[in-house]
């Protein structure tokens, strides 16, 4: 194979350009450091998004052989495996901005209930951070990207003075807030990275509800427009597209010396030399690359002599419950698109009501899909057929509300990513094997999650759509993978410090969700951004001092 070796020694090479990689690139270039970003895909053309293609036009276009931009990576191109009988629904986006092109945008600050949880209950290692360490970075991130939300903060959901105006709740959301309040459960205003007014010169949301197809005016944060583009203007950033990284290279002193990558289109192999390597390829892919970075010095993968990397994979477990509110039955359907997704949130409450639980950690709830949505799949769960059935669907359609509780999965040593003996990908590198099982702790928590969702719907006098208790969403489908390169103060039990710097390899950083020691019950992107900002501040400082 033709082997192209670049002689130039780069300052910092960042692998991946999503929330973590984009933030590191933006912040480091701002601090005067030269950065090269390797992205496994390329820039998505916002003008080609099918943001405003109606469902029937969508089908018409597909029939004509047209396709929207393919953002989600086809697992056929980069497979992963799971043991028989287990599934893990992994979603990856290769391309500038990564998953932030289509993310759910829910932006909840972690609280000390989250950061102190493991230290208090003693399950696995503590976070090396507290809210006070992260809070200044949350402030900065919110000002930079624009997050809308309310002032109805709680101990489990800290707020800030930097919120853009909250999105007004839809009818069904208001009615659920009211019903929940009656039984002592508070449902607050949602916090979302959507611009409800012009922010830093960026166009506000125009409430078309198509965020999941990518926003054609970038009215919600995506790493490509908000971070990479400004960083490119600094002249200090170089982005290499379609660079699929295989491994981190090591020098004779055991330090990271660069990376080896393959061109996604030509399959040509390249190496790039760097003084500092930053992993930001998302939890599973960063982990796979590190485990594949084997050498005489690091037979277990770079920075993994303590066998921590790949283990403690964690996320959140979820289910979906639907109901129909009596006040809205038979009403005229409204345009319920709003900012896409729910405008409300149920913060964790199980830590403060004084009742003892037979499980650790907690859950919150989201409510997306409440109101008149662009489909009626709930009808599949209604009995019968014919004219009365049709009438029943129409009558319930505007009254639909949806509950999606998210419960923290405990980190466990045997929930893990490995590359030993797995098949090779198209570049000859071992693919990831993902082993992931729930434990009794989650099963017990799920019972209370069901009780809570039911009690809210009962309080709202809703007709509950038939469901099977205990039937959970696919593992991985929350798209919040964490834990496999966890941070900690103890170098024996963790892989990186609170700045994402590897304990064993000082010039290797990991900044994506892999470094979170726990998943918490919350969506992680805001915290990934805050920690990547904090970590890259320290990186720049250490780099300037010549410590790397």
């Amino acid at each position: 194979m033709y082997f192209q070796k670049s002689q130039q020694k780069h300052d910092v090479v960042i692998i991946g350009s999503g929330a973590a990689g984009g933030m590191a690139a933006w912040n480091l270039t701002k601090l005067g450091v030269n950065v090269t970003v390797l992205d496994a895909g390329q820039k998505f053309d916002r003008t080609k998004f099918w943001s405003h293609v109606k469902p029937w036009e969508w089908r018409d276009r597909l029939e004509r052989g047209l396709r929207p931009p393919q953002m989600v990576l086809d697992p056929k191109e980069q497979p992963y495996e799971t043991p028989a009988g287990q599934t893990f629904d992994l979603t990856r986006v290769w391309g500038r901005g990564g998953k932030t092109n289509i993310w759910g945008r829910v932006s909840l600050r972690y609280s000390d209930v989250d950061f102190e949880g493991p230290a208090k209950d003693g399950w696995e290692i503590p976070w090396p951070l507290r809210y006070a360490d992260v809070s200044p970075y949350y402030d900065k991130v919110e000002q930079l990207i624009g997050v809308c939300g309310g002032t109805d903060d709680q101990d489990s959901l800290p707020g800030s003075k930097y919120m853009l105006p909250a999105a007004s709740p839809r009818c069904g959301e208001r009615l659920m807030q009211k019903a929940a309040k009656g039984i002592g459960i508070s449902i607050v205003s949602g916090r979302r990275a959507v611009l409800t007014k012009e922010h830093n010169g960026r166009a506000p949301c125009h409430y078309c509800g198509a965020c999941g197809k990518g926003c054609d005016v970038a009215a919600f944060f995506n790493s490509s427009d908000y971070l990479l583009e400004p960083a490119l203007k600094s002249g200090k950033l170089n982005v290499v597209d379609n660079a699929v990284v295989a491994r981190v290279l090591v020098d004779e002193k055991g330090k990271a010396s660069g990376v080896q990558y393959f061109d996604r289109n030509t399959k040509q192999e390249h190496t790039i030399q760097a003084k500092v390597v930053v992993m930001a390829a998302s939890c599973i892919d960063s982990t796979r690359i590190l485990l594949n970075s084997k050498s005489a010095r690091y037979p277990n993968g770079i920075a993994n002599s303590n066998d921590v990397i790949g283990r403690y994979l964690t996320e959140q477990t979820r289910f979906h419950m639907y109901g129909f509110l009596p006040e809205l039955r038979g009403a005229k359907a409204q345009n319920d698109d709003g900012i896409g997704g729910e405008h409300i949130y149920m913060p964790r409450f199980n830590h403060r009501d004084g009742k003892k639980r037979d499980y650790l950690r907690g859950f919150g709830s989201q409510f997306w899909g409440s109101g008149a949505v662009a489909e009626a799949s709930f009808a599949k769960s209604l009995p019968g057929f014919g004219a009365d059935f049709k009438k029943g669907v129409k009558n319930r359609y505007p009254a639909l509300v949806a509950l999606h509780p998210y419960g923290e999965v405990l980190p466990r040593r045997d929930n893990r990513v490995t590359v030993e003996g797995t098949p090779k990908d198209r570049y000859g590198m071992p693919i990831a094997r993902i082993e992931f099982k729930l434990s009794d702790n989650e099963r017990k928590m799920v019972e209370e999650m069901y009780d809570t969702a039911e009690s809210i719907l009962h309080a709202a006098k809703a007709e509950i759509l038939p469901y099977k208790r205990g039937e959970l969403a696919l593992a991985g489908s929350a798209i919040h993978e964490h834990g496999t390169v966890r941070m900690g103060d103890d170098p024996k039990r963790s892989a990186v410090n609170s700045f994402g710097q590897a304990h064993e390899v000082k010039n290797l950083y990991v900044l994506d969700g892999a470094i979170f020691p726990t998943a918490t019950e919350k969506n992680p992107t805001l915290t990934i951004l805050a920690l990547a900002w904090r970590g890259s501040d320290q990186l720049a400082e250490e780099f300037r001092k010549g410590n790397l």
Binding site: P204, Y207, A333, A374, E375, G384
Partner: protein
């Protein structure tokens, strides 16, 4: 030459016009074409199968004061799905055969030749068979009809009144005093 959208975007980038003004000009992508009244041809099912399927989807979601599933060409949507996913197509085909087989048992008439009452009775029979393959066929065709119909203009817009995925300057949310917390 720049398209209108590109022009708006570069105007936004250069901030030579106030954002609000540019926003008002924001045009949503033109529909590729109005759905033309071209005669559709089945791509997976045969003519008789299409006739049966059209009748079945129309029994599940019939024409009332609004169009039904057959009006919305849902049988053609299912036909397209069958071509794209042949395991689904094969299961549908075998279900349609079984439905016609059951119809012919009495006096040799195909499903479409039965009276509406008889057709409904037959579909009900299929629907209520506990755990049997005929019940799973009914569930499959019902689900496909729901997915198809409520994604058409007839089903989603005309029947349910969905009128979204559009440009709004403001989102008022719930304005009913009786719904407030």
């Amino acid at each position: 030459m720049k398209t209108r959208r590109q022009a708006i975007r570069s105007a936004l980038a250069a901030a030579t016009v106030p954002l609000a003004a540019a926003q008002q000009q924001h045009q949503h992508q033109e529909p590729l074409s109005q759905i033309q009244n071209v005669k559709k041809t089945p791509k997976f099912f045969g003519a008789d199968e299409m006739k049966t399927l059209a009748r079945v989807v129309d029994l599940i979601i019939p024409r009332t004061d609004t169009p039904g599933a057959a009006d919305a060409q849902v049988h053609f949507i299912i036909d397209g799905n069958a071509r794209a996913r042949t395991s689904f197509g094969a299961a549908m085909r075998s279900g349609l055969t079984s439905l016609n087989g059951e119809a012919r048992k009495k006096d040799g008439k195909a499903f479409v030749e039965l009276s509406e009452t008889e057709q409904i009775a037959l579909l009900t029979l299929f629907m209520n068979e506990q755990g049997a393959s005929r019940a799973s066929f009914f569930k499959m065709v019902k689900d496909a009809t729901i997915d198809g119909y409520y994604s058409t203009q007839e089903g989603l817009k005309t029947e349910l009144g969905w009128n979204a995925n559009t440009f709004l300057k403001e989102f008022p949310g719930c304005t009913h005093p009786e719904h407030q917390v």
